[in-house]
């Protein structure tokens, strides 16, 4: 039989029984739509978590003053060892390593700010231009702290959206001078509102150059130093680099603690794997269900068309031809059903995306490819049994079947 004829015959058979065709398309499309939707939501959830973590900063090492280990009772316990302060120069020294991408010194405090008659207590961060990139923050207006010598105390500040709203109300804030503690600074930028990371809400922050913040808090120490590695693999090397640099600068004392994200990332990986496996499992089940539905519908097809199959055998069709005809039907149905399901799934993801804008709902390409592939494979696999049954039909009985 020619392949064109096989296809034409199968399409004709599908058109000949619309209800059956519709049922089967429905079964297949629901299966595929389920996979597309589930993976879209799963992937959305994953991306959501990734974004949350990314806003914390990726490949980050955090340097704190003082040692956190307890070394037991030794001479130092009696000597009363005081950690040396972390300084801006310490932070600048850490930059000198090929695997370090960015370094941002950090100072934190609470300060009284005011503009005209309005006043507020706000958390203040002193840092450098690098902080924006490390924390993956976005600007709403204006610009972030300018790059330059971090020891220079420029009278500039960047404020959060909420601070802007509460202090300036309807007035434009950019370019205004506002009071901050006993000093004044010019507002050069307003933070976007999406950067909501653990501990600090960007909307409520005021960010100053680190040297200005030190003057404000009347100190020359740093609260933290954030170090961003170029890759995750470089983190242990950078940790060693930080410790040895600080030891050299602090007269041989290793009086800082370096926290890495390794522990966090490991947990994170486990969650992802579990999530992916769950989604894959659920997807597999729904496609399995679709496959079994396909099998049932194809079995019904075969019994409904017994007489026709018997006739084809009487006319000289051999087993393989019957097999191919039934499988072609199943293949066409699966393909069309899968495409339909894909469309339904995509529309569903769009709708969910509209309802929950925070969730980046979109089925990954591998899920779409897998759903289509698995749908067609299961459709065909589960049709082998009905097709074989059709091929084995006894023509005498099949012809008397009415």
């Amino acid at each position: 039989m020619r392949s064109g004829d096989i296809l034409r015959f199968s399409l004709g058979a599908l058109q000949g029984n619309r209800v059956r065709t519709m049922l089967m398309l429905l079964a297949m499309s629901i299966g595929v739509a389920a996979v597309v939707l589930l993976t879209a939501v799963g992937e959305g959830a994953r991306l959501f978590v990734v974004n949350e973590f990314a806003s914390l900063g990726t490949n980050l090492l955090i340097v704190l003053p003082g040692r956190s280990e307890t070394a037991g009772i030794g001479p130092s316990s009696f000597m009363g060892e005081t950690p040396r302060d972390l300084t801006i120069r310490d932070a600048m020294a850490l930059v000198r390593h090929s695997a370090v991408r960015r370094v941002a010194p950090l100072n934190v405090g609470e300060v009284h700010v005011s503009w005209r008659q309005r006043e507020r207590e706000v958390p203040v961060i002193g840092s450098t231009s690098e902080l924006l990139a490390i924390r993956h923050w976005k600007m709403a207006q204006g610009r972030f702290l300018p790059p330059g010598d971090p020891e220079l105390a420029a009278p500039l500040c960047v404020i959060g959206a909420k601070v802007r709203k509460e202090l300036f109300g309807p007035h434009p804030a950019l370019g205004e001078m506002m009071s901050i503690g006993d000093r004044r600074c010019r507002v050069i930028g307003i933070m976007g509102s999406e950067g909501r990371s653990i501990g600090l809400d960007v909307e409520e922050l005021v960010i100053l150059p680190v040297a200005s913040a030190q003057m404000l808090f009347n100190t020359n120490t740093l609260f933290r130093i954030l170090v961003e590695a170029k890759s995750r693999e470089a983190i242990p090397r950078i940790k060693t680099h930080i410790l040895s640099t600080i030891r050299k600068r602090h007269q041989g004392e290793e009086d800082v603690t370096v926290i890495t994200q390794d522990a966090v990332l490991a947990t994170f990986d486990r969650i992802f794997r579990a999530l992916t496996l769950t989604v894959a499992g659920v997807a597999g089940i729904s496609l399995g269900v679709a496959g079994i539905l396909t099998m049932n519908v194809m079995l019904i097809t075969v019994s409904q068309r017994t007489a026709e199959i018997g006739l084809l055998k009487a006319l000289g069709a051999h087993r393989r031809q019957i097999l191919v005809l039934i499988l072609t039907e199943a293949g066409v149905l699966s393909l069309v059903g899968a495409l339909l399901g894909l469309a339904i799934g995509e529309i569903g993801s769009l709708v969910i995306g509209r309802i929950y804008p925070a969730l980046p709902v979109s089925a990954p390409w591998w899920a779409i490819a897998a759903a289509l592939g698995v749908a067609i494979v299961t459709g065909l696999t589960f049709s082998v049994l009905p097709a074989r049954r059709a091929a084995r039909l006894d023509p005498v009985q099949a012809l008397s079947h009415r």
Partner: protein, 228 residues
């Protein structure tokens, strides 16, 4: 052309064995016109199914055109059926969703014949059964007689050596029945072996050779014309 030697066909019905064909011997020569008659359950249909290779005998030999059909594989049997045997059924067995032309070309489609050649050949057989005008009608739009003529066209499109008709007029009124039997006889005059299974003594009596089956055995085999 056709030789059945000691053919038995035994069906298992529950605990009992039913001997549908019992040590049957039958030789049919080229161009014969044969009717098989007998009461219900006498084995007529079983004999026809075995002649059409739709069914296998339990034991015995079936030689068709010199080859032992029983020794062929399934695929070879299907091929033999396609090339040497045409069927005409009581209930027509047309595929309802296909037009007359598409029904007729089915055997050619199964044989992988090109569309152009199919077109030419269906055209010829449609003309032979007088249905050129109905080529694009579906079975439901045709009368019983017309449907049976479509079925005959389909049975003959492969130019088989043997035409097997199972109660070809059983579902038709007498006028269209007569028309159908005349078409079949016309085909026989052109050389095809025509074997008709029927209850109807009038139809059966038209054949030059008349076989009566009772309980799976041939009880009479009469050749030559008789006056009814």
């Amino acid at each position: 052309m056709i030789r059945l030697e000691h053919v038995h066909r035994v069906f298992q019905v529950g605990e009992q064995k039913v001997h549908a064909l019992n040590d049957l011997m039958l030789h049919i020569g080229l161009g014969e016109y044969l009717s098989i008659m007998g009461p219900s359950g006498s084995g007529k249909s079983t004999l026809l199914n075995i002649l059409g290779i739709l069914d296998r005998s339990t034991s015995g030999q079936y030689l068709l055109d010199g080859t032992d059909v029983t020794s062929l594989t399934d695929d070879q049997q299907a091929r033999t059926r396609r090339e040497k045997i045409g069927f005409v059924f009581q209930f027509f067995h047309l595929v309802p969703r296909l037009t007359a032309e598409q029904n007729i070309e089915l055997p050619l489609v199964l044989a992988g014949v090109s569309p152009a050649e199919r077109k030419a050949r269906t055209g010829r057989v449609l003309q032979a059964v007088g249905l050129e005008a109905r080529a694009h009608h579906r079975p439901e739009e045709l009368s019983g007689g017309q449907r049976q003529r479509v079925a005959i066209a389909r049975a003959t499109i492969m130019e088989p050596a043997v035409l097997l008709a199972d109660e070809p007029t059983g579902n038709l009124d007498s006028a269209s029945g007569k028309e159908v039997i005349e078409i079949l006889e016309q085909l026989n005059r052109k050389g095809i072996i025509l074997i008709v299974v029927t209850h109807d003594p009038e139809i059966g009596g038209r054949a030059r050779r008349r076989i009566r089956l009772v309980d799976g055995r041939i009880i009479s085999d009469i050749s030559g014309h008789e006056k009814p």
